[in-house]
Symmetry: C3
Subunit: 347 residues, 3 copies
């Protein structure tokens, strides 16, 4: 796609095009990083990006940059095709979508799919090879189910959902519109509920269900368990990475983001816009306020007020944790000093 055509299309986007120069109006094939881009590729820089100096040497045909005079000057001197945006990262997302629109590779219902006779199927859906859909489930229009996925009974998929290969959705789960379930994720499985008895663990039946609101995304191999009673609830627009565990009865607000290998224990409640970095753990029934950010490997054992940044285990305010961590590495010295002080005292 010519750079000029791209710029025209981006004007309809929401990334805030500000200025541009077409240079040789290169024909662009794909996106790349500024270090690896070739003459038929486009790359981007954000304000303050440590790779900014690469603009002097990039072989990219075109660059997306923030509105900084120094960067514009380099782009002009090098006769690159360039454009400035309020949100260069968002512009790059829009560019990639324009250059390489997501293909809809499967279409219609593959004859090897096993679909119970009592399943509602909307228009324009795609169901891949060896998919199974159980009694009473409903698949709304424009949904795509990739090969090997298994959907148990009485599951509801909203419009334009995508279920990737070998994912599994258990009974009664309800998905809103435009949800994405990645490969091998499991939604709506039994929560881990057992009652201790003199004869060992007795299973607490998990009669509840999982509800995902619109535009929720669940990563590969992640699990969202259903509760004994009531719902496990994931708010609209929440994005969950790979290998994440969401326990029974957890509730999240809207637009949360959880990185890989996060684990949230049963009954925890997250507000809106909560961000959990990789390998974070949240304890049973803990309440995490709106817009809380937890850094990686953090363990949240007790409630966190809104707008806090927390770190460590048990979680404490991030700034305090950074200072404590530095002090931790000086503990042997501190111990030695204390010993010496004590010796002098008592001598």
């Amino acid at each position: 796609m010519r750079f000029s055509k791209l710029i025209t299309d981006l004007q309809k986007g929401s990334s805030g095009l500000e200025a541009s120069e077409l240079g040789t109006d290169p024909d662009l094939l794909s996106g790349a990083s500024i270090e690896q881009a070739l003459s038929n590729q486009i790359c981007f820089l954000e304000a303050g990006n440590s790779l900014s100096k690469e603009l002097n040497s990039t072989k990219a045909g075109a660059v997306i940059i923030p509105s900084q005079e120094d960067l514009i000057e380099i782009a002009q001197r090098r006769e690159l095709a360039w454009a400035t945006f309020k949100n260069p990262r968002l512009a790059f997302a829009e560019v990639l979508e324009l250059l390489q629109p997501t293909p809809q590779n499967i279409s219609g219902i593959h004859p090897s799919a096993v679909i119970h006779e009592n399943v509602f199927l909307g228009d324009n859906i795609s169901i891949g090879a060896n998919v199974f859909i159980g009694n009473g489930s409903r698949i709304a229009s424009k949904s795509v189910i990739y090969p090997g996925a298994v959907i148990y009974e009485n599951v509801i998929l909203g419009e334009a959902c995508i279920v990737h290969a070998n994912a599994v959705i258990h009974p009664r789960t309800k998905l809103g519109k435009k949800c994405v379930i990645h490969s091998n994720a499991v939604i709506g499985s039994e929560g881990f509920g057992f009652v201790p008895t003199p004869n060992g663990w007795r299973k607490m039946p998990q009669t509840g269900r999982v509800v995902l609101q619109d535009e929720v995304e669940i990563g590969c191999g992640s699990n969202i368990d259903r509760p004994a009673v009531g719902e496990t609830f994931i708010g609209a627009g929440t994005k969950i990475d790979n290998l994440v565990q969401i326990g029974h009865g957890v509730t999240t607000g809207k637009d949360c983001a959880m990185a890989a290998q996060v684990g949230i224990a049963g009954g925890a409640r997250l507000g809106n816009g909560v961000i959990l970095a990789g390998q974070v753990g949240v304890g049973n029934r803990v309440k995490v306020g709106d817009r809380v950010v937890a850094s990686s490997k953090c363990g949240i054992h007790s409630d966190v007020a809104p707008d806090q940044v927390v770190s460590g285990f048990p979680a404490i305010p991030n700034r305090l944790w950074l200072r404590c961590s530095i002090a931790f590495s000086k503990l042997p010295e501190m111990a030695k000093t204390i010993k010496e002080l004590t010796k002098r005292e008592t001598s």
Copy 2:
């Protein structure tokens, strides 16, 4: 189901019914939490439950409570149907099972299942769509295998096992009676054994097998690896949550419980009744004594005696760890104080 019928059935259970009043003998549909229950629902409270005050306002039709006069008084005043039990949580488990018995949704052998001619199939089994069962495997009676599950060669399933969708069981694995393998779990795969050589890592063949005793439950996406030689062994009644890793040659006792994302390295040995909370790690060949409890994110690097409660990384006694964690957050202050003391000393 009428509350009166429920009470009659619960008398045959093991939760210790003590007293009850039928109130209006409500017709109950399902269970719910005390906060969300409606007039056709039943809920429960345990002794010391922080939600006890909700009994004053719950809209539940019936309540299960411990034998506490204050709670009975409220239930009577509010003319609720109520019953007291020695073990209210167990009573609630029994109630849910009575109200919503687990359905056996698939039955017989689906024609799309691919079963080797040399497979033994017991009576009254269910094998779902697109299941594969390899040469020499044996599926005992009353077992249920959900769609997409793959069972390799020479696997033995005891009576009344449940294998959920897309789970995989590798060669020679042996399951006792009433085991449950949840979706996408992998049992009996090759242990991670490689020998360093001048030409890189050389695979140590994993010729052993995995044995699960009766009533073992393995969560979604969890992996139980087989060893180079001998067995990986999970004791009867042990319950394992989602995304747990059990390395090659691990042995556990009976009735252990492991929460999500626990990892146990090769050759570790757990006693009976060990409880590991979420994201706990246990090191190579470590021995963990009977009834040890490890709190979340704990890292157990060396042997732990029976009946200990441990926390932190490396794991130390829980009470000590709690005090150390509080002190950790005061490290910057401590460092400052030490500096001041040193200054005065040397001045």
Copy 3:
């Protein structure tokens, strides 16, 4: 297999046979641990192995031992068949392979497999039941794909790859020769890339691909994500255990090893021969030098120079961390001592 035959075969191996005595030249069926071996089994010891004393009582028919006079003496006295090797562990790996060669259980293409007409299939391949292979993919000769695996479009598998049951390989992924993808692993799925906008998270299209060089092994349930642009790259001979997360755009060198539940965030770069123990985390864009070893649960937030051994979170040199950890458990005492010192000072 007779011990004498085994010894003859091992002379062609690379484990450095040094001396041997045939004893009664036992007929050996399989390998076992020295504690559990029977008269038709063979076991091994390494130099310094804590089980060496078991040589006095083992019921094994044959033993592989290091060249230590004390061990040879015991083996001779007990009239065991024995052999000494420079690398006894490697010898045992070779023995297991000789005694129990890996079976190729499936062969040819199962009629239930769904393979797009535009797929290249090499010679001598095996494709199991219910496998799906998408448009434009290429499966080189001698590859084995187990039941239920799903291979999307334009995937390239090199010679003699093994893809285990229910694994999923996403579009454009390229595997070298002799790669092994274990059950339920997901390779080449979308990286976790979202741009924050006033209307919530906007997906950054993930147009890149994953490349695995020759002899890479990916454990059960592990995920290797593809990046927005460019490649996620795993160097030749790298072995990855179960439930590991490799983020978008990560690069590893050759012959790395990662234990279970490791998580590597987007853009991190590992050198050659890096070893990460269980549950280790590596942060965004961090560079980890050649031959770095990170102990379990370690969190690497900033670059690590080659040949370091690191531990803890944030990661510090292992020896320092060991001392700091001991000091940590004495923090309450330290705090008390400081308090007393201060009191005396001010009194």
